[in-house]
């Protein structure tokens, strides 16, 4: 794993050097609070839990994670630095993983900054900390899956906007698959077994259980395999780019 650590550090530094990082964190926190309190009617629910807070994460991530991931490879290609990076004695897979990891940690930092929510529910009542922890864990894992998709689309183009739109579309499909209205619409076209199978690929349904405090191995496998698969085709795309 030669090169993993320095590439990871450089990438993370690049996030915190750019004003976009701070703009992102602020928007992330405001959007989280807005969804929880305004859309989710947090107070009316009369529950000392973060269920409502996590409920909106699949939707928030739809736009926020592609915004973090869109620069990963598109920016390197635009600036020509990928020529430098890819001619260093580092395996391509290591570079892809190191950059992904840095972006993921950055998102993790943003997620951790939502800690006042935890204090709030503790102040308001006696919440069960298990679902809160598993919610954070699941949310982070799901963010990784979104990010892996964004990293892949970022490798397809040197234009960050195109990269952003592509990953939003892919992520949107993956979110919608688990949404009842969308499934019903699909039922009208496809046989039920197929729509059922497709809905197994949904972010939302796999996040659902973790959000409620149930950590099911199948959900973990789902998210990690999305990450693994997307990073793999990310490598393939980069490798085939110049052929």
């Amino acid at each position: 794993m030669n090169g993993l650590n320095p590439i990871f550090k450089r990438e993370l530094l690049a996030y915190f050097r750019s004003p976009v990082a701070y703009v992102f964190i602020i928007i992330f926190l405001i959007a989280n609070a807005g969804c929880t309190f305004l859309l989710g009617n947090f107070y009316d629910s009369q529950q000392a839990s973060l269920e409502i807070f996590f409920l909106f994460h699949p939707w928030l991530y739809l736009f926020l994670i592609p915004a973090v991931g869109m620069r990963l490879w598109a920016e390197e290609r635009r600036a020509g630095t990928h020529e430098l990076l890819l001619t260093l004695p580092v395996r391509l897979g290591v570079s892809v993983f190191a950059k992904f990891l840095a972006a993921w940690v950055f998102i993790g930092v943003a997620l951790l900054l939502t800690f006042p929510m935890v204090f709030t529910v503790h102040y308001l009542g006696e919440p069960d900390n298990g679902p809160i922890l598993s919610g954070y864990f699941g949310s982070f894992l799901m963010a990784g899956a979104y990010l892996a998709i964004a990293s892949f689309t970022s490798a397809l183009t040197k234009n960050q906007v195109i990269s952003f739109i592509l990953s939003v579309i892919i992520c949107l499909v993956l979110v919608l698959l688990g949404w009842g209205v969308f499934s019903n619409a699909l039922n009208a076209i496809f046989p039920v077994w197929l729509t059922d199978a497709l809905s197994q690929f949904s972010f939302a349904s796999h996040f659902e259980a973790i959000r409620r405090g149930v950590i099911d191995l199948r959900d973990l496998v789902y998210f990690t395999s999305i990450i693994g698969f997307m990073l793999l085709i990310n490598v393939v795309v980069l490798e085939s780019q110049n052929k």
């Binding site: 030669n2 090169g3 650590n5 320095p6 590439i7 550090k9 450089r10 530094l13 690049a14 050097r17 750019s18 600036a79 020509g80 630095t81 020529e83 430098l84 890819l86 001619t87 260093l88 004695p89 580092v90 395996r91 110049n242 052929k243």
Partner: protein, 319 residues
Amino acid sequence: MIQVHQLSKRFGLFQAVNQLSFEVGKNEILGFLGPNGAGKSTTMKMLTGFLPPSSGTAEVCGHSILDAPIQVRESIGYLPESAPSYGEMLVEEFLRFIAEVRGYSGTSRDRQVDRVLELTALSDVRRQMIETLSKGYRQRTCLAQSLLHDPPVLILDEPTDGLDPNQKHEVRELIRQMSQERTEKGEPRTVLVSTHILEEVEAVCSRALIIARGEIVGYGTPEELLAQSRYHNAVLLTLAESEAQTVQAALEQIDGVAQIESVPYSGAGEARMRLIPESGRSIAVDVQQVLAREQRTVSEFSIERGRLDEVFRTLTTNR
């Protein structure tokens, strides 16, 4: 140190590099010349493993670019054409990053960084953000990056592009110095440098390779290439305007003079002419004898070495 065997690269229908074969020996600085789009950068990108070749292969320090790309990259210091670097980093941060990726850490990393900062005269700007630097400094930052691991092979794609004459001179001196020094492990160094500045070839290269349309059209030492010029061994004379006619008539009789052309000259009452020899023959002695016999004096008598730009143009446009 570098052996290239029938290396080819095709982009769709465009044959960028066509069956290129050449060698660069130890302690050699090979100048890689050619018009824009001739395939210089593409060849370098294949050697450094950035582009896979369509066919053919190459070896760098005994490692095949196809089978051992990581070892090849370890032995090469590469300056890409656009001299890319991460703008949001400080110069020293960037160099530390590259050093770490190349496997240095702690004090050995800092020692390498200090060494190349010194070498490329960047010590003054080490704490400056790269994106705030001028083009010349950015170019040198990327050059510094290529020297960090003290590589036995340097591949430099237009290292003096965009520099002012003083900086060009410094970079050339650096390249010359690098090629003469051995690495810390005692290996001799090899440099492959592309350029389209011809004076650079005469200034730094021990040999030059000229390519056009992806194929080799000329190869040799700068002197050998100069000898191919029609101006090689040409004699330039300046003499009194009144005598010019008669002298020219006498000189035309010399066996081996292909052509005499008059050269525009601003001196009052004087004229200048150039005697171009047949296929580079040495005619200076004969010219002197004729002048002595005719009892003519000249105010200027010089022998030309030839012109690389003319050789370059002939080789890359004819066909």
